[in-house]
């Protein structure tokens, strides 16, 4: 691939989902609600040049160009399971760097407890934003607790399969938090802010009883309208796909469970 990466001990040895499936089956509502819509429409997004504004409760607020971020870091290949809240999953070989690297550069103040993320707002390049009946309030926003953001599994991805991210997968830079449902992985990030209070998140705003702030993958806490006990692995078995059990924290419990010790995961879903 065109991106130089090093391997990571955090990678799973499960078989990665094919590039074709990873790049043709996407949820990116800025480009339409069908799974195929992002691949069909996201080419209109201009991803270069691109800067990410980092502000809020930090000692060194800054704007970073994606090119500088790539040059300034050792990119790692992180092969992660990705579990969508809708009940399907993939294995994606991302290329990126720990979000913690960026956080350390801006030196968060002691008052910073959460990290808020915002997708670019570009109605002229994003057909979903021009709709008369928007499916979500734009721009898409997400958030993490600071300790979740600092966790070594949490990365900013700039590529997959060794190449720069295709637009439909969130180019040029996106969040990947493998123990959370896919919608936490905000795409095409324009701004990262350090804040004191828990920030609003898009899906929580849309249906607070269905999508929580935490959105940790959890087979024991159902979506109110469907079960989360099992999942279908994309690209496995074709029509005769067999469901596999969903794992607590998407199989990353050993690494992340202590972040939530003492918390009622039914309440903080």
């Amino acid at each position: 691939g065109s991106l130089a990466t090093v391997k990571s001990p955090f990678s799973t040895d499960e078989k990665p989902t094919s590039l074709q499936d990873v790049t043709s089956y996407n949820n990116y509502y800025e480009f339409g609600v069908d799974k195929g819509a992002p691949a069909a429409h996201a080419h209109t997004l201009r991803t270069s040049p691109w800067t990410v504004k980092v502000d809020g409760l930090v000692a060194r607020p800054a704007e970073f160009s994606v090119e500088d971020l790539i040059k300034g870091s050792t990119l790692e290949e992180r092969i992660y399971r990705m579990r969508c809240v809708e009940g399907w999953s993939m294995v994606v070989p991302w290329d990126g760097f720990p979000l913690a690297d960026l956080i350390k550069r801006v030196e968060p103040l002691g008052s910073a407890k959460y990290v808020a993320f915002e997708t670019a707002y570009r109605p002229e390049e994003m057909p979903g934003l021009q709709s008369m009946f928007p499916v979500l309030e734009w721009p898409y926003v997400e958030g993490l607790r600071l300790d979740e953001a600092m966790h070594p599994l949490t990365i900013l991805a700039v590529g997959l399969y060794g190449e720069r991210l295709p637009n439909q997968n969130g180019a040029p830079i996106r969040l990947v938090v493998p123990w959370k449902y896919g919608f936490k992985g905000i795409k095409s990030i324009a701004r990262i802010s350090f804040v004191e209070k828990q920030p609003e998140t898009s899906w929580n705003r849309q249906a607070p009883d269905e999508y929580g702030f935490y959105a940790n993958v959890n087979p024991n806490v159902d979506h109110p309208r469907w079960s989360q006990k099992t999942e279908r692995r994309i690209g496995e078995g074709g029509l005769f796909v067999k469901r596999r059990p969903t794992l607590l924290f998407n199989g990353y419990a050993e690494e992340v469970a202590q972040l939530y010790s003492g918390m009622d995961l039914r309440k903080f879903y």
Binding site: Q20, D21, S24, Y25, Y29, V33, K35, G36, V85, E86, W88, S131, F133, V135, L136, W203, Q206, A207, D222, R225, W226, S227, K229, T230, R232, I234, G235, G238, L239, F240, V241, K242, R243
Partner: protein
């Protein structure tokens, strides 16, 4: 309605009347055949089972809408497709049955425990199953013999269950999606219009000063 002589339905376009019913069934079932063919050849995208399941359900809803459109089309536009209503209704049933079978066999892998949990805990599954069950007696009494056996009036009353099926089908669709995407909303609006038309007409008829001699089941 039936396959008697074309003279029984004088307002039907004569060319259409000559097309044998069996050919129309073949056309109606062609999408299912195409979907299965593409599915077996792994041409249904990244999530073929889901695509098949959703497409079959959508076709069932389309034929349900078409069935419900027959009466307004006749009353408002003078287009008489009554002869094809049974065909459309049965196609709806066949697609609903395929959709249901896909859910049971391919989606849930006949895991009875999971299916039962879905049925009792998930309103969209409960509603979907109930909708399918409502369609069964309608399909079972679609023959001329059944109409004769039941008598026209009782048959017509029974077949008003199609309104419940239509409401169930759009609720099932709305409950299975995230947020409020346009497609299920559009179908909900169409069904609402088709049912609202009937409701409005029956209210108007009741309010009308002079009694109308002819009453037809809609």
């Amino acid at each position: 309605m039936d396959a008697r002589s074309p003279k029984a339905a004088p307002r039907t376009a004569p060319a259409a009347a000559r097309v044998p019913m069996i050919a129309l069934y073949a056309v109606g079932l062609a999408p299912a055949a195409w979907l299965f063919y593409q599915g077996v050849n792994d041409n249904l995208g990244a999530d073929p089972m889901r695509y098949l399941e959703q497409s079959l359900g959508l076709w069932a809803l389309r034929f349900l809408v078409a069935t419900l459109a027959v009466t307004p089309l006749r009353q408002l536009a003078g287009i008489n497709l009554l002869r094809y209503r049974r065909l459309l209704g049965l196609l709806c049933f066949y697609y609903a049955a395929l959709h249901w079978t896909t859910y049971l066999v391919l989606d849930q892998g006949l895991d009875l425990e999971a299916i039962w949990a879905d049925l009792v805990k998930r309103p969209y599954i409960t509603i979907g199953m109930a909708t399918f069950l409502v369609l069964v007696p309608l399909a079972a009494t679609s023959s001329n013999a059944a109409i004769r056996r039941l008598g026209g009036k009782a048959w017509a009353r029974l077949h008003r269950l199609v309104y419940a099926a239509a409401i169930g089908a759009v609720l099932h669709f709305l409950l299975v999606v995230k947020s409020w995407p346009p497609e299920p909303l559009v179908y909900a609006a169409i069904v609402l219009a088709l049912l609202g038309y009937r409701l409005g007409r029956s209210v108007l008829r009741r309010l009308a000063p002079k009694p109308e001699p002819r009453r037809r089941a809609a």
